[in-house]
Amino acid sequence: MFDKIFPPKQVVLPNGKTVSEKRSRTPLIFVTVLIAVYLSIRFTNFEFSLLAKRGHEFFAIINEMIPPKWEYLPHLWQPLLDTIMMSILGSVLGSLVAVPIAYLAASNIVKNKVIVMVARIFLSILRTMPTLVSALIATFIFGLGTLAGTIAIFLFTLAYVGKLLYEQIENASMGAFEAMESIGITRIQAFRYAIFPQVLPNYLSTSLFCFEGNVRYAAILGYVGAGGIGLLLDEGLGWRDYASVGMILLMLAITVFLIETVSEYFRKKLI
């Protein structure tokens, strides 16, 4: 395409040989990016002067967060626990349901192209839905509370683990699977004994990794009423009670750090 609009230049060497030099794409990319930046500035009403004038406000807010309000800590335990539990339940259920869906989406196991396609499109669409949007929808269906948050995390985990798992299944070696099929074992059983052990460590590691991320996501789901610590964050910021917000963020950082450290330890052991 590009080479048709800007045909390659013929370079003639002193000894008479010619070589065709493709036109550099750098100028085109550079100009495109510049135009895109200009348009984006127009679209987003980007104003540097406003930032210069009011930017200090941001640091003023951070300043108010330090030191955090320690008396607020007792109020935090329950929502924090809710957040963690939402993540755990959503992640575990999502990872479990991901197995049959990944099975259906693996083209080397399921030969029916329609089923594979449907399973993959289902996973892609689920994965594209931002967690907060699915949580929002879930609050309409399941009411406000932790259940909606759990559902949202469940759906995201299902999509994320499902995609990575079917890719791993497709990369697994098929020898044992075919051997088992040839001696008359059903496909599902052959999958259970030949493919699943190969992908199991990776599957568990992916699920743990997804769980780590889910704790962060779960923390904001309360904003749309889906339970957990997000509700408090919203309240604190709404009432400009920044010292409490600082406390919440500190606890959140500690929790995320602890969970990541533990999970990372197990993930390293697995692979």
């Binding site: 370079v11 070589v19 030099e21």
Partner: protein, 272 residues
């Protein structure tokens, strides 16, 4: 022919006089080196690893400093150079390395153009736009090593032998008077090693360029070089024509380990 035979006077390209090299950790790398290499010679330096082959070669373009003695390269007293003088001096000397040392994420021609970088004007250095003459010179250099058609392909898509040829082209584009090579075929397989060595030989003969390489493979050295320099424990223990190298000589250079050295090469599969 007769005429040229008479006019071709031997010109000293490299002259080591009583050169010593001691590393800061007191390791004596070179000891009392006296060596004269003339224009157009093809010289191979052989010896065990750690004998000082690499140090010897790297002193010539001042990648290493000599501790005492004098080293004159193409009329320049190398030991006396400072700062900018060193960089200007290096422009005349091409060097090839074992690991090719290319920027793999960019095209072949951009790698070759690197050799013109020190001559660029300020704004060309900033923008990275090269003049047409430089591009033509770079393409000509690529043509000399037979990979002209790969000019606009990314280096990471080439084989090891082709990558070493890109490095060779980059060096040729410098238009050097001397070509140094530090283990140029150590990471290549036998077939590509042969191609690269053929390139060296051709450049040596067609352009009358002095080639000095240190090499791990004795058989290759004997096949291609006119002159062999044997280094043992920082001293030159053999200096003479390649056809006069006997098994006793090799045995002495390699401290009686020549059998092991050859066997090791069989194992590596790099035996040409």
């Amino acid at each position: 022919m007769v005429f040229s035979f008479f006019t071709r006077k031997a010109i000293d390209m490299i002259e080591f006089t009583n050169v010593d090299k001691v590393y800061p950790n007191k390791v004596k790398a070179l000891e009392n080196i006296n060596l004269k290499i003339e224009k157009g010679e093809f010289v191979a330096v052989i010896g065990l690893s750690g004998a000082g082959k690499s140090t010897l070669i790297r002193c010539i373009n001042r990648m290493h400093d000599i501790t005492s003695g004098s080293l004159v390269v193409d009329g320049t007293n190398v030991g006396k150079l400072k700062g900018k003088e060193i960089r200007n001096f290096r422009k005349k000397i091409g060097m090839i390395f074992q690991s090719f040392n290319l920027i793999t994420r960019t095209t072949v021609i951009k790698n070759v153009l690197v050799s013109f970088v020190p001559q660029l004007s300020f704004w060309r250095k900033m923008t990275g736009i090269f003049s047409k003459e430089h591009k033509l010179q770079a393409l000509t250099a690529l043509d000399q090593v037979g990979i002209l058609e790969k000019a606009y392909i990314r280096v990471d898509q080439l084989s090891g032998g082709q990558q070493q040829r890109v490095a060779l082209a980059r060096t040729l584009a410098q238009n050097p008077t001397i070509l140094l090579a530090d283990e140029p075929i150590a990471s290549l397989d036998p077939v590509t090693s042969k191609q690269v060595m053929d390139d060296f030989k051709r450049i040596n003969q067609e352009m009358d360029m002095t080639v000095l390489l240190n090499i791990h493979h004795v058989e290759v050295a004997l096949e291609y070089a006119d002159r062999i320099i044997g280094v043992r424990e920082g001293q030159i223990v053999y200096d003479g024509s390649a056809n006069e190298v006997t098994d006793e000589v090799l045995d002495y250079i390699y401290k009686g380990k020549i059998g092991e050295v050859k066997q090791e090469m069989y194992k590596e599969g790099a035996y040409v």
